[in-house]
Structure formats: structure tokens, C-alpha cells
Symmetry: C2
Subunit: 112 residues, 2 copies
DNA sequence: AAATATACATAAATTTCTTATGTATAAGAT
DNA sequence: ATCTTATACATAAGAAATTTATGTATATTT
């Protein structure tokens, strides 16, 4: 993703949040959107993205709708109700993670 | 660590930062310190911690010093100069990660 | 005509962590 | 006295997420 191991574990959160905003998106579109938003700093690889989308679908988080545009296939994904709840949960986990990490690395007060 | 996949990839950063503050610490001490600072939210397991310490040592980030206290063994680790630089680098990566993730999940402005 | 972009997919290998297990001493509880 | 918990290290099997490497196919740009 970015030669930065901290992104490990973040892919599902990113996908869910983009779908939460974007309404419905297809895989390739997600990779491009992430590139634009992060100004190229973060690149979602296909080898990570597609299995992640398949897993989210299998877990009932996403619904799929296949379309053919310019004779090319697109698989549009959108959040199910379950996926919408999961998005909120994942975003909360991200906020918790950030708070906890800042506790660990920003020792404003001595805690001994 | 916390049933939150976002912590994946964070262990090295946590260890390095604690050693940066603590001067020298031994493994068990690190697990306890993390528990205290995070009020029990984050627990470093031994199965993750010890291999991580060994790897950091092998990579020249840490120096070891064995001590015997109350007839029990302690392996004190401290940052080498290389490890000190790596700490700064890892902390920068954490700030970058947080900024990028906030860009992705806090769409203050429409970017289309 | 060749290279790049769009659009999907999977499989082997790697990395990181969990879970389980093992050894050994010290301290606290019953 | 004995059992449990705490202190202190260690490793190995398995799981999960991702990287890297391929593969197919059509459209667009050079």
C-alpha cells in the first residue's frame, strides 16, 4: 500500500468508508479514488482489493450489481444495511486506534 | 492486541517509542507499561513481543544487557543510534498514516 | 503497431500476529 | 503446606492480511 506497515489492517475500513460516501463503486474506481484523495501516497493493489471485496460480499456487507460499460465489465458494489453498521463500527475502531496510539507516543504527562 | 486489526503493524513503533522514553526496558516491563498507559485497552502478547525484540536486535536497532534480579533473568533493551533514527522514522510514519486516513474518512470537502 | 489504461481474477509467498505450549522462580492466597 | 497468580524468558503451529506475480480481455493513446 505505501511501504508503511501501519496500513496493514486498514483496507476494509477504507473500502467501507468510500462506499459509504460514494453510494456505489466498482473495484477499479476505488483504486483510482484512493490515489486521488491521497495524492498518490496510497495505492490499493488489485491483489489485495479484489479478495477483500469478495470477502465483504460473502460476509453480507456488500451487494453486487454487474454492468457492462463500453463493452467492459464493471462490478458495482454498495453497502448493505449490515455493511452500513459495520462501517460505523470500523470508523469508531479507527478513532480508538488513533487515540490509543497518541497516548502511547505523545506522553504529555509523565505517567510513572 | 485489541481485537482491532488496525494495530497490525504498530508493534515495532510502540516498542521503539517506549524505549525512546524509558531509556532501557525489559520485555515484561514493556507489556505492563502498555497495559497501564492504555488502561488495559491494549495488551502486548509475549508471542508477538519477544520475536519483535529479537528482530530489532538482529537489525541493529537495540542493544541487550542481561541482569539477574531476585534470582530471575531480565534482558534489558536500549536503543542504538540506528534504533534512535528508526524511532523518529516510525513516528513520522505514524503521523503520515493518521493524516492520510483522516483524509480518507473525513471528507470535509467534496473532492469530485 | 505498440504501449498504456481500464477491468476483472487468482495463486504463491511473505509478513505479522494469535494461540498454544514450555521452562523457571517469587509472591500471595487458602 | 499447597495452590494460584505474577514475574520473566522462549518458540512453534496456525491464521489472517497483504505483496508480488500472473493471467485474461477490451479500449484508448502514442
Amino acid at each position: 500500500m505505501a511501504n508503511n506497515k501501519l496500513y496493514k489492517g486498514s483496507l476494509i475500513t477504507i473500502i467501507l468508508k468510500l462506499l459509504d460516501e460514494g453510494g456505489k463503486m466498482y473495484g477499479y474506481e476505488i483504486t483510482q479514488k484512493v490515489k486521488v484523495i491521497t495524492k498518490g501516497k496510497l495505492k490499493i493493489t488489485e491483489g489485495a482489493l479484489y479478495p477483500a471485496l469478495h470477502k465483504l460480499e460473502a460476509d453480507g456487507m456488500l451487494d453486487v450489481e454487474v454492468e457492462k460499460v463500453d463493452n467492459r465489465l464493471r462490478k458495482y458494489y454498495k453497502l448493505t444495511e449490515k455493511g452500513s453498521k459495520e462501517t460505523n463500527s470500523k470508523l469508531q475502531e479507527l478513532q480508538d486506534y488513533i487515540k490509543t496510539m497518541q497516548l502511547l507516543v505523545n506522553p504529555k504527562f509523565s505517567l510513572d
